[in-house]
Amino acid sequence: MNKWQSTLVIVLVLVGLVAGAKIYLAPKKAQINIQTARAKGNPQARVKIVEFIDFQCPACAYGMKFLKTFIGQHPDDIYVQVRYFPLTNMHHHAMISALYSECAARQGKFWELEDLMIPQQGQWAQLISPEPVFQAMAAQVGMDINQLNSCLASDDARKVINDEKALGQSLGIASTPTYFINNKMVVGVKSLQDELKTYFPN
């Protein structure tokens, strides 16, 4: 075999091996479970979005604000479900903010808490401990504080968050925000906006 032939073989083997590995490791499709307190919009909507976020991630905050406005403009056409993907190696308050959100969801106050947590992200993200702020927010939205604290102390909420992060990783997620729009993966708000334009050209 001469050098050119060897080169061709090496490239073909390389591409074949890597492509094979890619297929073998291919993420599974995101399934939307509509039985969740972390969803809003029309469950029968033609556009269903599963959103994996880290509550301390600035881009996620921007994405949530954008989606809130977008749902307001297209209330019957969008369904959004939030899943947890705390980037604990980068954001010190990623887990605690997710825990408060999950505990709020268990009291049916997920969106009310997010309406306070997201706009104030810039402030609480700088704190050594954001818990006093989150406790105040929880009281403000009418949560049962005893129930909240029991939830925070239990392992169950943390398990839900960790399970959703593991699910996200199995779907190939590496960054937040990551969205699955009718099962198509897009990462970041720019790609989200580009993809939504294909459904809502005007």
């Binding site: 080169t7 090496i10 890597v18 890619k22 997620i173 993966m185 990462v187 970041g188």
Partner: protein, 145 residues
Amino acid sequence: MYLVLRIVIGGIFIFSGLSKVLSPYQNFLYIIQDYQLLPSWGEVLTAQLFPWIELIVGVFVFLGLWTSWGLRGALVLSGIFVVVVGQALIRGLSLENCGCFGGWVHLKPQAVIVLDSASLLLTSLMLRNISLTKKISLDSYFEKA
């Protein structure tokens, strides 16, 4: 020494390319968008093609096959990284992660500039001493055959 350098530089490019190729391209696309350099179609094309180019250049350098061309490819890639990351830093763009190794390794942009500048230097050195760089390589095998 040049053999070790070649293997290390080739290995880094293989690792860099593989980390992106094995992950959904959308993850690398997100990183590219942060650099705000290309139009949308350019960003998608880069996200899908660039990792493969890195991987193939890495393999060629690692194996010492078409070594001069592989090293020139590595030089160009390293130069591109330095320019792209440098312009982002100059423009004050917010980059938490350079995206160089997909989601496998997170490097601050400043570290990337240092790493890729070193890669430029070392690759140039190898090109200048190509006969030593090719001492144990597929190229030398085919030259003897």
